[in-house]
Symmetry: C3
Subunit: 277 residues, 3 copies
Amino acid sequence: MIETAVHLRVIEETSAYWRVVFDSPPFNIVDAAMIYGLQDLLARMEASPSLRVVVFESAIPEFYLSHFDLTGKTGNITTAVGPSGLPILIDTFVRLTKSPVVSIAKIRGCVRGVSSEFVLACDMRFASRENMRLGHPEVGVGLHPGGGGTERLPPLVGRGRALEIVLGANDFDGDTAARYGYVNRALPDAELDEFVDVLARRIASFDRRAITAAKNLVNQVSLPSADRLLDSLNSFQKALSWPEAQERIQALLERGLQREVDFENRWPAVLGTLLET
Amino acid sequence: MIETAVHLRVIEETSAYWRVVFDSPPFNIVDAAMIYGLQDLLARMEASPSLRVVVFESAIPEFYLSHFDLTGKTGNITTAVGPSGLPILIDTFVRLTKSPVVSIAKIRGCVRGVSSEFVLACDMRFASRENMRLGHPEVGVGLHPGGGGTERLPPLVGRGRALEIVLGANDFDGDTAARYGYVNRALPDAELDEFVDVLARRIASFDRRAITAAKNLVNQVSLPSADRLLDSLNSFQKALSWPEAQERIQALLERGLQREVDFENRWPAVLGTLLET
Amino acid sequence: MIETAVHLRVIEETSAYWRVVFDSPPFNIVDAAMIYGLQDLLARMEASPSLRVVVFESAIPEFYLSHFDLTGKTGNITTAVGPSGLPILIDTFVRLTKSPVVSIAKIRGCVRGVSSEFVLACDMRFASRENMRLGHPEVGVGLHPGGGGTERLPPLVGRGRALEIVLGANDFDGDTAARYGYVNRALPDAELDEFVDVLARRIASFDRRAITAAKNLVNQVSLPSADRLLDSLNSFQKALSWPEAQERIQALLERGLQREVDFENRWPAVLGTLLET
């Protein structure tokens, strides 16, 4: 049995407005338990007809969601299918994008790889100007994004910036991410909570039918196809078995990935010299 | 007979460059007369082979075009079809986007809902930095955009910012709109007239065949499909009959919408608490 | 025989990272020789399995690539087909976008028309804040973009800004181009070389298979279709024979285009009054 309760907590501010707090110390790693926690949350959201808006935040100041688990704790999330008929990892993100409930990522700390793909699947993204490190380091690990990053970034930031994000494999701070359109806005950290809370309560006061119809219309012209998402995930699955990827993953784990706070904070910075002695 | 002459005035700066001035005090409401005024203008534009560029501006400092009339003066514009075979409201916007004549919105004042859809159908948008309030408040009125906003915003500003604009239902000032790509540029109010005039006269000096070919090529990869536009309008029509929408519309009219200047200026700000006693 | 060696020089920093220097004084005009030089380069890139990244820069401070040759030295590049089956001009840009090798445009100086289309075909664009003049002046010459500009700009900068760039036919400086998303970033001139070098060496250290897979996935959702590119080129070919285009081209050549440094630097500025006496 997978314990999901410890991975994310739901705070029901009102029946229309929930806050979901990622709380899986020390790093909020995205492993099978975290994804199954999101699956449980989605089921609960779908059973809550009064709900209008969910804000996703982290209980850990330095880590929003850190990245895909690289120690083998990902279970069957890329192979078993979820309610949409898509593999559970993609199912989670696709159902979030199509939900009648509005999702807002309130981002502080590190958000890399599959975690970037989570915030890209949220309806809106607001970042702390002083405290965010957002990016897609997969190519620097010998892999590539597999959970929608290569599909969702180009229409959001344009091909050139999408390729810089994906091929450069480095972190983006709040101001740069906002300038690129990767997040909606970067706000001073001291203003972020109030800004998002005011927006969430405002949306929570609106009629669910109007919200749903509007979001559906926007989705019709802005979501990637399931085929494209599946191609990426299948290619990612193969990449995990590439020897060059395994060599880089081992090097990162030896250097302290998923173990040491300092390395977990800054690891994309060393990807350009990872295999040098 | 609908009086259109009083709704917009055409100033022929030259045979190649017209200014069209919205002048329907006190608010430049978008009602049937305003849309039929635009239909007449389009016919006149199509009969003017020397014309290259039209600049759309307002005679009323605080209101560019305010919003869709909510008092019943919208006639048959969402049901009767125009020359393109599409309902007149959509026909107006589609013909503007496909016209060989270049359209420039020079924006001062309030521009909400269908009025945002008008400027989104213009080829370019330049805003006063100090004096613009642009947005899509429909969802806060229990409705949703029906004249192309949900189709034109995502490719312009990305899905995340499109959803913030549409679901947040609030005003955007010039700098934020420019940062989001919602308008081309926000300029200091004192520089706006000259900037647009210089650009319009420059384009007016170019050859019509070159302008037409270039705009057609851009249109091929940037216009929404008629099917998507029709889906939105049909859904909007249904939404108008939703009781929750009618309740919100009544509340707004009672609070002063389309009557009081001060309320007309700031009404999206109250949408989050509209139905509270 | 076309001399290509003099048009661009390849500096192999490492087997994984090349710099390509445009060096065809005085203006780096894009003529048949320059395009055949790029064709030779592409063949050499395709035969270099260790190569990861190519940075394109200019040896001439004021001119990156200036623009399409208007004196008849364009040979068969718009009619003869290249290895992809597309006309050589388009073949060059399409193969660059689809190459497993990452292309970075490091831009100083003037970059207009087909040269803008070259940098739009590169994977990323970084500009000197103080020293760049980038744009599409074709419409002001009685023509229109024919090498992909009208297809690549709208998904990058949105329809409104694409139309401002294409129909306004003027230069954009680094900061404006970055604000529009036309280039990834504008950097202070003194920092540009190091920024791009660090990024290129970083990417050069990554595995080729990961780079290729990631770029392919991004390409699936971000490249224009061959049909659209061909439509533009065919339309451009016809436009070259329009009398109004020929009149403007003659006027520009008489005023000093492709002859005088000062005029070559600033010619888009005069397009609005080109045919006035």
